[in-house]
């Protein structure tokens, strides 16, 4: 929100900080060659540690709200495990989502020590070409054996650029379906059997009936200005250029905004908006869809689907929620969406990978980092099934250490929070396994050479996409303008470059 002096202020700040901090980072560039050194050259072990490594502190940056005090407690508890095993201490810092990107930017620019960081929401290829994150291949061999084994080759490919692995994909749901989530009570009141609905068009009778019964309720609302697209495209890592559908073998890169699938969808949305089935000002609303559902102002919203999605929306809105799946789950490179990186300011990247490996595989350590301290941040409700809940008097708003399982490397070895299906992790596993796999899954798009076009096209998309998806613009007149502007902004150059990279990738990975 407050990034209004984006160009001037933050630059000046970053600049002056990085100038003052000086550049002691040249070392990092060549650490790739001497990865094995610390285990072999560090001789005798000191005291209780059994690893033979010298003492080191791994600093971890993760998102979500947490107080400094509670982070220290968690760090101490986590360090107790890693100290013994690896002579490594852990220092956890958490930053709220609102300022996460800025914080990361500052830390990277200022050369502040940082060893592991959660998904950096900026562009990965920019981060690589500007040297913000390190290649991990050499460290994974010696220090991340379990990671290497447990993560599938396909997933590794998604984080491989120029032949090097740059991140570790988190273990979570790695596919997505799309569907319509709605207030079950209202839907039941219509008397319509909604379980047979399979496509977006078939929703209309239900929506019309709801509008009739509840004239003050918006049948469809947007989530902070966006109505999700019920699409099967593979956007091939973002920017312009997609495969039309994940369930075909066709690997021709097209402009999805110029496709019939897009046109049909926005026509339907426009029609609905004209009939009053979509909330007015949907594309500019800053309201969270779930709070509108909770306030009883909304009947439903478009949403991604995954195991436990009903419970997730129900928990946030406080209403009973049903979800109709309109697009069955599929997986693409974009879906491997939470990745852990080792930034360039790590002093000993191999130790960072070693700890990441431990967090990924050791449930005890993972639980501490994800859920905090037992008795203070959570308590065990059912030890056998591994189900936890907030202790008395604590809730999501006042806990000192917010639990965000998906934001950590491996949520699937952690406790299940009450309210979720008990077998959510098994469900997630089969969800991943059964998802349709895009023929281009694993292709990692590198836009470094074509950033001017990408920036120009991003502006054009910002102008039309949200408004079209919310039905506020007439597709008949808008789409031709949209396509023409995209083309003049260089969309075709991006598509050609993407096709070239994809063809090369397909060739190499047949």
């Amino acid at each position: 929100m407050k990034r209004k002096k984006f160009t001037a202020l933050s630059l000046g700040l970053i600049l002056s900080i990085s100038m003052l901090a000086g550049c002691s980072s040249n070392k990092q560039a060549d650490t790739t060659d001497n990865t094995q050194s610390s285990t072999t050259t560090q001789g005798t072990a000191s005291g209780e540690n059994t690893s033979g490594q010298d003492a080191y502190t791994v600093k971890i940056l993760a998102p979500g709200d947490a107080s400094t005090e509670d982070c220290q407690k968690v760090s101490a508890a986590a360090s107790a495990i890693t100290k013994e095993k690896f002579n490594t201490e852990i220092e956890v810092t958490r930053v709220g989502f609102g300022s996460y990107d800025q914080q990361v930017n500052l830390m990277l620019a200022s050369n502040e020590k940082l060893d592991l960081m959660y998904q950096y929401c900026g562009n990965v290829t920019t981060a690589i070409s500007s040297g913000q994150i390190l290649p991990l291949d050499n460290y994974l061999e010696g220090y991340g054996k379990d990671l290497k084994e447990q993560i599938s080759l396909d997933d590794w490919r998604c984080v491989t650029f120029n032949g090097n692995i740059y991140g570790v994909p988190s273990n979570k749901e790695k596919a997505t379906g799309w569907g319509f989530a709605f207030n079950k009570e209202m839907a039941d009141a219509t008397g319509i059997d909604y379980t047979t609905i399979k496509t977006q068009e078939e929703l209309e009778p239900l929506l019309t009936k709801v509008k009739e019964l509840y004239p003050d309720v918006y049948p469809i609302v947007s989530n902070t200005g966006y109505c999700s697209s019920m699409t099967k495209q593979d956007d091939l890592g973002g920017d312009i250029g997609s495969l039309l559908s994940v369930d075909s073998d066709n690997t021709e890169v097209i402009n999805y905004y110029a496709s019939d699938a897009y046109l049909d969808e926005v026509k339907l949305r426009y029609d609905w908006a004209q009939k009053g089935l979509i909330m007015p000002d949907a594309s500019t609303s800053t309201e969270n869809a779930n709070s509108l559902l909770g306030a009883g102002k909304a009947f439903g919203r478009f949403s991604n689907t995954k195991p436990g999605i009903e419970q997730e929306i129900a928990k946030e809105s406080g209403k009973e929620i049903a979800v109709i799946e309109l697009i069955p789950p599929y997986t693409t490179t974009t879906r491997v969406d939470i990745v852990w990186y080792v930034p360039h300011n790590s002093k000993q990247p191999e130790r960072a990978v070693q700890i990441l490996n431990e967090i990924y595989t050791n449930p005890e350590l993972a639980n501490i980092l994800i859920n905090g301290i037992e008795g203070q941040h959570y308590e065990i409700v059912d030890a056998e099934k591994g189900i936890v809940d907030y202790p008395e008097g604590i809730n999501g708003a006042n806990t000192g250490y917010l639990s965000l399982p998906w934001a950590w490397p491996n949520e699937m070895i952690s406790y299940v929070w009450k309210g979720n299906p008990e077998d959510i992790w098994t469900q997630t596993e089969s969800f991943n396994k059964n998802a349709i796999v895009s023929p281009a899954k694993g292709f990692a798009w590198d836009n470094t050479e074509i950033q001017s076009e990408v920036a120009a096209c991003a502006n054009v998309v910002a102008k039309y996409d949200h408004a079209l998806m919310a039905g506020s613009l007439d597709p008949e007149t808008t789409i031709p303008k949209f396509i023409a502007e995209l083309e003049s902004a260089g969309a075709n150059a991006i598509i050609a470059e993407k096709q070239r990279q994809l063809d090369a990738w397909l060739e190499a990975n047949q």
Binding site: L11, N123, A455, V460
Partner: protein
């Protein structure tokens, strides 16, 4: 010679007082100027600013890549010109009106009321505007247009009204601040001038026209010159938050700053961001110099330097 030295000696304490401000300026405004070189580099964190490779003008390309280049330049310039002209006229008018008021109490109240919008965060302003313009619950649609039997307007998807809305919002927000500076000047004018004018039979209008306005001339020119230097910058909040980042309005709300923000939010390319900043400051610099030259030609006394 020694006379000159003596003069310097006399002013020494004043120069001394200037030091903190000067240090601040150097640290905050001059040292970061070194960063201009980033605009011509492919910045690499590991290599540092000086170690990164040069790329020539590549970083500037995205600014001029599309037809948008014309739109954003036009929007930025025209809006700022409008803001300067309308803002200045109204601020001067209100300052004079304030001065004509007799009741001290009323003066204080008006001044505060006019200043309050300046102190409100632009995000809050955007919701105030939304309160007026929201399609189905907004004040204008609900309480004005509907009772009059007219159709609701969906303000956030119709670009025709936005040039006016933006000017109104901007003037409303900044009037109080500009007004204070002019008012301070008006208050500082020699009261004996007014008295003798009154004795000579000059009415209120004549006194304003012949005494107040000429007295304000230098202040007006200084403030206008300073804002001319910033005509290539736009108030990000005004053009991004107030229209609620609405796509259909982008043609009339896209300025250089919002374009850069939308284009680079995902890319996070420091080189391109600083290229935009360099471009803006360069144009601003040239404009200030030429505007000042023009003023100096017409009236040497009023020029900044």
């Amino acid at each position: 010679m020694s006379k000159k030295l003596k003069k310097y000696k006399r002013y020494l304490p004043l120069y001394f007082m200037m030091v903190p401000g000067l240090v601040y300026l150097i640290i905050n405004n001059y040292i970061p100027m070194g960063g201009i070189i980033i605009a011509f580099k492919k910045f690499n964190y590991a290599k540092g600013i000086l170690g990164s490779p040069w790329t020539g003008m590549d970083n500037f390309e995205f600014l001029f890549k599309t037809k948008e280049a014309w739109t954003i330049t036009r929007n930025t310039l025209v809006y700022n010109m409008l803001f300067i002209v309308i803002g200045t006229i109204l601020a001067v008018a209100v300052a004079i009106l304030l001065n004509e008021l007799k009741s001290v109490m009323a003066k204080k109240v008006y001044q505060t009321v006019i200043l309050v919008p300046f102190l409100i965060s632009i995000v809050v302003v955007s919701y105030l505007v939304y309160g007026f313009l929201s399609t189905d619950t907004g004040f204008i649609n609900r309480s004005i247009l509907q009772p009059m039997g007219k159709d609701s307007v969906s303000w956030y998807s119709d670009p025709t009204y936005w040039p006016i809305i933006l000017v109104i919002v901007n003037v409303w927000k900044n009037l109080g601040y500009n007004c204070i500076i002019y008012y301070a000047t008006v208050v500082g004018l020699d009261t004996s001038l007014y008295e003798s004018a009154a004795i000579d039979g000059a009415g209120r209008w004549k006194r304003i026209w012949h005494i107040t306005l000429p007295g304000l001339k230098t202040t007006i020119i200084t403030l206008v010159l300073m804002s001319v230097g910033r005509v290539f910058y736009s108030d990000f909040g005004l053009f991004y938050q107030v229209p609620m980042n609405s796509g259909p309005l982008i043609d009339v709300t896209n300025t250089i700053d919002t374009y850069v923000y939308r284009g680079l939010m995902e890319l996070n390319n420091i080189g391109m961001a600083s290229a935009a900043a360099v471009y803006q400051s360069l144009v601003g610099f040239i404009l200030v110099l030429s505007a000042n030259m023009l003023v100096r030609k017409i009236d040497q006394e009023s020029a900044l330097f």
